[in-house]
């Protein structure tokens, strides 16, 4: 272990068995020929593939790709708009659809032109009370004979006949 920064006396066990063992292992020499074997492995490792270079006039640094992409976007948007424009019809005269006349079925029942009006259409009507004096057209009913009126003869009570002077 290095002596500079680790403060070996911090825990009071600077040369503890653990550190002695770890130091022993850490100081083990590398096997012979390790560097050569690693170098051989690196030589055998697959290298990064080379990419074909762009021609000078078409190098991506010139920004032509960006321009081409912008032009392609504009072309697609304009083409789409034109396609929609040509497919949608202009404002022409409205088509009038003539409905065929209804022909009654032969041999069936018809309504004879009757139109049913719902009863609820005029609305409810309150009953009107009409007084007899106000309505002279209504015939007067026969009044009950007055109690103090005495019959002309007998004791029979037939006022109608007496009043009318019917023959006996």
């Amino acid at each position: 272990m290095n002596s500079n920064p680790h403060e070996p006396t911090a825990s009071g066990s600077a040369s503890s068995p653990a550190e002695v063992t770890l130091r022993l292992i850490a100081s083990l020499p590398a096997p012979e020929g390790l560097a050569e074997r690693v170098q051989t492995a690196l030589d055998a490792a697959p290298r990064r593939g080379r990419v074909l270079a762009w021609p000078r006039t078409l190098r991506p640094e010139s920004g032509w790709m960006r321009s081409a992409a912008a032009a392609a976007i504009v072309l697609v948007v304009a083409g789409g708009g034109w396609g929609v424009y040509t497919r949608v019809q202009q404002n022409g005269p409205a088509k009038v659809i003539v409905m065929p006349a209804r022909m009654p079925a032969t041999g069936g029942f018809t309504g004879a032109g009757a139109i049913r009006t719902p009863l609820t259409l005029p609305g409810p009507k309150a009953p009107i009370k009409v007084s007899p004096a106000a309505n002279p057209a209504q015939p007067r009913t026969a009044k009950k004979p007055v109690a103090n009126q005495k019959p002309a003869s007998g004791g029979t009570s037939q006022p109608d006949e007496t009043a009318a002077g019917a023959p006996r």
Binding site: M1, A18, L22, A26, L28, A35, A41, R56
Partner: protein, 209 residues
């Protein structure tokens, strides 16, 4: 000039236009050679350090060598950005560190006997008898087993701190943390290791009684 001659001349002109610029091709070739040369120099200079970092985690010679090769293959793939790297050594250690951690995570846990055998094979054995060498390997394997019990953050800092060539600033750079975090994690790792080893020692003594 006949019509056919004019057509041939036109085609030749277009072909000449489409051909690659020779000056640019020469520049690319020279740049590629320079990159290969720089990479070869990096392999010579840092492969040993990268191997030791990889071995400290994987504890297997073949796996560590594979990790080093994979790290340099990754560098080869990203060699265009080599010029932007400020410290190649720390950058390479960071690459191999990520590789070995990933491999360690994916690999199944090996039995401790494998570690003992591997350590007995690779550890220096000068002046030691066969029995002492086996005992030392057993001891180191036991210590490494305790290291493996540490939390990942503390373990990583402790393992990287064992490399003499790495300062705490560089460890922080490898792990992507601040230097103060490195210090605090190292402090915790040492304390935890001490307690783990004490606990193992006490339990061993109790079993002997």
């Amino acid at each position: 000039m006949s019509t056919s001659q004019a057509i041939v001349a036109g085609i030749a002109g277009i072909a000449a236009e489409w051909m690659e610029n020779p000056t640019s091709a020469m520049n690319d070739e020279a740049r590629r050679r320079a990159e290969d040369h720089a990479l070869a120099a990096m392999v010579d200079q840092y492969s040993s350090a990268l191997y030791r970092v990889a071995y400290s985690v994987l504890r297997n010679q073949a796996d560590a060598e594979d990790a080093v090769q994979e790290a340099f293959v990754r560098v080869l793939r990203h060699r265009d950005s080599l010029a932007e790297v400020r410290d190649h050594r720390v950058w390479l250690i960071r690459i191999v560190w990520n590789i070995v951690l990933d491999r360690k995570r994916r690999a199944k846990t090996r039995p401790e006997t494998d570690d003992v055998a591997e350590l007995a094979r690779v550890l220096p054995s000068t002046g030691l008898s066969a029995e002492e060498r086996a005992a030392a390997a057993q001891h180191h394997a036991h210590v490494l087993g305790c290291v493996d019990q540490l939390p990942a953050k503390e373990r990583e800092v402790l393992m990287l701190s064992a490399f003499e060539e790495l300062s705490s600033v560089e460890i922080a750079s490898v792990l992507g943390i601040s230097e103060s975090s490195v210090r605090s994690r190292l402090f915790r790792a040492r304390n935890l290791m001490a307690s783990l080893l004490d606990h193992a020692r006490n339990s061993g003594e109790r079993s002997l009684r």
